[in-house]
Structures are given as C-alpha cells and as structure tokens.
C-alpha cells in the first residue's frame, strides 16, 4: 500500500515534469540558437548549449534592423487596442450585467455569433472597406479592426467580473446621491480593477499575436507589426537563424509579461469566453 502510493506520487511528478519539458523545450531552443555564434551554429549541431554564447544577434537586431520599428508598431497597436477594447467592453459588460432591457438577448446573440464565424471571411471585405478611407497600411486601421474583433469576448469577460460585484453597492451609492453613471465610475470601476487588468492582458496578447489581417492590411515596413516584420524577414533572409530567433525572443517578452499578469484570471477568463484561442 505504502509503496504503491509512493510509486503513484513519483509517476505523477514525472508526468508533470514531462509536460513542463515539452512546454518549455521549443522556447528553450529559441533562446539557445539566439545566443549561438554563427560559426558554431552548424558545427555543433544538436548540442543543448553552445560552447560559447554571444549577444551579437540581439545587438544586430536592436541596432541594425527594422525590428525596433516593428516592436514599436506592435506595442502601439496592441496597447491602443487593449485600452479601446477595455473601455468599450466595460461599458457594454456593465449594461449586460446590470440592466434588464429588451434588446439584451439580441446583443448577447449578436456577440456570440461574431465569435462563431470564421474571421478569415472578413479579410477581403475589410480590405475593400478600409482602402478608400486610407486605413490600409495604417496602424489606426489595424487598431479599429482588432478592437472590433476583441470587443465581444472582452464584454463577456467584463460582464462576469461585474456580476461578481454586489448590486447593493451601486444602490447604496445612488441613495447617497450618485447617478447610475457616477456610481459606475466611482464605486464599481475601482472594484473591477483586477478584471480590467485581466481584460487588458487578454486583449493585448491577442492583438500582439494577430497575423492574417496584419499581413493583408499592411504592406510597407513602416507600419508593419512584429508578426508581419518577422515573417518578411524570414522569407527574405532565411539563413540568419540567430537573428531571427533573437527577434523571436524579443517578441515573446511582452506576451510573457502579460501572461504573468493574467495568469490568475485564466480560468475565469476562458470560462467567460470559452471560445477564444
């Protein structure tokens, strides 16, 4: 009995360890190649760590490539999208959480439908709509598109956070002399700060990762986001592996930071949306 229990525990820990290794190995390899000097890259083959590490790829990427521009563009796009979505989703989520109104059912249905149909369907029409407005090849265009795509999910997320705050609080504030909007701003929003942080994190990560619409809507280097830039770089200079992976590691950093921020809310967030990748 004791030994079988011990065996079970050991097997459990080993299984967890296996998952961790599989989860981290690709990222580790990225890191490894990014610090391997070019002359060792081919000669040392599948060694786990190069005999000599270097930061020259990072220096090159930061100082002599367009990646800082891509990075900046992505930050602007993902940051603006996150802020815009969070504001819109807070308002809409509050309406869904606190009011009973006739169109509520339809609004929820509409938002669910937008989560169901393939966004790739919209690539062509959106391009057609944005180009006469001068919003192709522009960060503003991307922000508008990303904001619309992320609002439904974020609305459900914010709604679930608002649902967790007792209605009594607003009612107390309204009796204390606040209008509903003042109660929302001064009482409810401050209490939803963790939820707002989570929403910001989810949306930032999603916008930071988006590829297809960025490829379609952006053509020049000036407005390229990180995914577009990296992919262009890959197809042009597909031998500079060290530099590409250094760039990849850089692209990973903001996403990982936001992951840490929202880690605690993963369970709640995914059950609220249940559809988002």
């Amino acid at each position: 009995m004791r030994t079988s229990k011990l065996l079970l525990t050991v097997a459990h820990r080993l299984a967890i360890l296996a998952y961790i290794v599989v989860a981290l190995f690709p990222l580790f390899w990225l890191l490894k190649v990014s610090v391997t000097p070019n002359d060792l890259l081919y000669s040392e083959g599948v060694r786990m760590w190069p005999s000599r590490a270097t930061f020259e790829h990072y220096e090159f990427v930061i100082a002599h490539s367009a990646f800082p521009t891509f990075f900046k563009n992505s930050l602007i796009v993902a940051g603006s999208t996150a802020i815009a979505v969070t504001i819109l989703a807070s308002l809409a989520g509050y309406a869904l959480s606190r009011f009973n109104f006739r169109a509520k059912y339809w609004i929820v249905a509409l938002m669910l439908i937008t989560q169901m149909f393939p966004l790739v369907m919209l690539v062509a029409p959106i391009f057609k709509m944005l180009s006469p407005l001068g919003l192709t090849n522009s960060l503003t265009g991307l922000v508008i598109v990303y904001t619309a795509f992320n609002v439904p999910f974020a609305t459900f997320l914010m709604q679930s956070f608002f649902d967790g705050i007792p209605k009594d609080l607003e009612e107390a504030a309204m009796i204390d002399g606040a209008t509903q909007f003042v109660a929302f701003r001064q009482i409810i929003l401050p209490l939803t700060l963790p939820g707002i942080a989570a929403t910001l994190g989810f949306v930032f990560t999603a916008a930071w990762s988006e590829l297809l619409f960025a490829l379609m809507l952006i053509s020049g280097n000036d407005a390229a986001t990180f995914p577009v830039g990296l992919l262009t770089f890959v197809s042009k200079f597909s031998v500079d592996f060290g530099q590409m992976m250094a760039a990849g590691i850089l692209a990973l950093i903001p996403a990982c930071l936001f992951f840490l921020l929202i880690q605690r809310y993963l369970v709640q967030g995914l059950t609220a949306g249940a559809v988002k990748g």
Partner: protein
Amino acid sequence: MTIAAHPQAVRPLKKRIADASEPYLYSAPALILIITVMLVPLALGISYAFRDIQLLNPLSGGFIGLDHFRALSEDQAFFRALRNTLWWTGASVFLQFLFGLILALLLDKPFAGRGIAQALVFLPWAVPSFLAGLNWAWLFNPVIGPLPHWMYALGIMDAPNNILSDPHLAMWGPIVANVWWGIPFFAITLLAALQAIPRDLYEAASIDGAGPVQRFLSITLPFLAPTIAITILLRTVWISNFADLIVVMTNGGPADRTQIVASYIFTQAFKRLDFGYASAIALVLLVLLLAYSMLIVLLRQTLLNKG
C-alpha cells in the same frame, strides 16, 4: 385632481425615455463597432461571392451569379483543402483534448509547487501563434533544429529530413505545433470544470466503496461531460478556421498537402487578390460550419430526449 385618482402611468415621457435608453447608451459604442467592422463586412463578403471582384482588375465588380460556385465545384484544390481541413481539425482537437484532459487531471489535486508548475505548462498559450509556428518550423528544420536528428536516431525516419517538405508527413508539423500550443486551453477549461465538482461527492463515493477508476467513471466524467461537449464543439469550429500556423509553417505546401480551407481563402485573397472567389469559398465554409453546429445541437437534443 385626476392625477391622484389615476396615479398610474403618468411618469413624464422624458424620464421614461432616459431610463429606457440608459443600457443602450452603455452598449452602443461596442455595438456600432461590431456592426460596422464585422457584420457589414460579413454581408459585403456574402455579396462578393456572387460578384467578380479582383483587386488588380479595375474592370471587375460585376454581378456574375453562381459562376464562382461552378468554378468551385470543379476546383480540385478546394476539395483537397476540405479533406485536409477534416484531417487537421480532427487530429488537432483529439490530441489537444486528450493531453489537455490528462494535464487537468494531473493538476487537479494540490501538491507542492503546483502554482509554478501550472504557470510553466500553460506558458505555450501565451506564445503568439505566429511565433509558435516559426518556432516549430525551426525545430523541424534539420539545419537548425534537433527533431529530425532525434527521429532519425530513434529510427522513426530514414534520414534526418524536414517533415515540412515531405508531402506525406507535412501536415504533422502544423498539427504538432497546434497541439503544443492548444493543450493549455483545454487543460485550463477542464481544470475549471474539475474544480467545480463538489469534493464531498468523492468522499461519499469512497465511503460507498468506489475505487479510483469507478470514481472517475461515475463522478468525474459525468460532471465534465457538458464542459467537454461544449469545448470540443467550439474548439472544432475555431481550429478549422485557424490558419496562422499553416500560413507560417508551410504556406499550404508542399504541393498543397497542408492547405486547409481557411488558408486557401487567405491565399486566394492575399496572393491572387481574387476577393470574389475567396468570398465564395468563405461562404461555403460558413454554410458547412453552420451545418456542423446544427448537427451537433440536434444530436445533443436527441441524446437528451433519450436520456
């Protein structure tokens, strides 16, 4: 005074309107954006399916009826893409679910270091999908990645080649990347459902003499079943549309062996700039997905009625 005699329904019109419009004011910005950036393009896209829209051809734009669909019915590449979509979606969802469920079960009970282990195994979820694709493409690249050499050493492959350029194996590349990237999603969702199962049920079952396997079959599975069903349904739809990894890793190649419908639509729109044809394919995909969802809902209904 008549008001005192009939006090009902004399709320001033202004207040009634103000009260009734409040929720709409809160949701209007989001709604307007969703309608203009998602619904209008959706309608436009449907109309494109019946028009000749080529970005580089200024003379295009005319109504051509069902021509695109006729072309589609003879397009071998499209049918290959359909088959590939089935294969890609089925394998990805099944493996993500299987490994996700195991992971959720492993993480369900508290143990020392669970928090950090959880953060580490969920990390792939945070990796941007394009980077996940590139990352795995590099791992499969014999010049730079270890996988071909390991598989060769294990005797799985005859030579350390890139499976992404082997027409028979190429689809496994994006599938592996997708499974790696999607396990956390299933694990997180299932873990949430697992932790919502009341613990005293297990205790009661143990007292009644149920072993671990019986407990899993008679408590855990029935409780998880609704979550599993809805997650798999939604995930299937989502993954069948998820073209990022394929666009990044193989771009549909070699010889269209990894082209799925979603990436085919993107290629038509992005490379050929043939928006009309792309929209026609998209419309077919939408109809197929709707049919799939209806089928699932009906199936569920009949099962529920039986049970």
